[in-house]
Symmetry: C2
Subunit: 101 residues, 2 copies
């Protein structure tokens, strides 16, 4: 089975509280139960010491079995609804997908 | 055992050939054998379809058991030597570390 990782780097807006961030992350994690091709979800705050993170402070990492699966995820109503709440809470976002070898 | 992921997003300079990129990636992968705290290494080319990758085209993902391990890695002579060859070959680099939950 192929593995494709979907990485979102994020920086939340200053106006978004720590509680709101936790709620948003819960909503993100919940997508695993709603969107079949999304197989796993992990996240973490930046703990880097090299100061090369360009302002991004959170990493969200989800796993899929194909790029087709990521396309299904992007277009899934549950993702579209979540993204409409999540993306406006961000100052910066970067998304990259790769097949780890 | 704790897990800390060290993510490097990269874009190689136009002047760097595909062969040179493959050599550089081999050198990166080789660090796992030289630097004890570096426990795993995976990489992949960007395959994202959302056009939010901000020009980055490669993901390099290494695993450590602590942030202390990443600090040891950064300061290890084998890494310092490799970075002195690798970083000048890049147009853009972004580094972020996180403890996946």
């Amino acid at each position: 089975m192929e593995l494709v990782k979907h990485i979102l780097l994020a920086k939340f807006k200053e106006s978004v509280s720590e509680d709101e961030i936790q709620q948003l992350i819960k909503g993100y994690a919940n997508l695993v139960d709603l969107i079949e091709p999304m197989k796993a979800f992990h996240w973490g705050k930046d703990v880097s010491i090299e100061n090369m993170h360009q302002g991004f402070t959170y990493v969200f990492e989800s796993s899929f079995e194909s790029t087709k699966g990521i396309e299904e995820y992007i277009n899934h109503p549950a993702h579209v609804e979540f993204a409409s709440i999540f993306l406006p809470s961000l100052d910066k976002a970067l998304i990259i997908d790769y097949k780890p070898t």
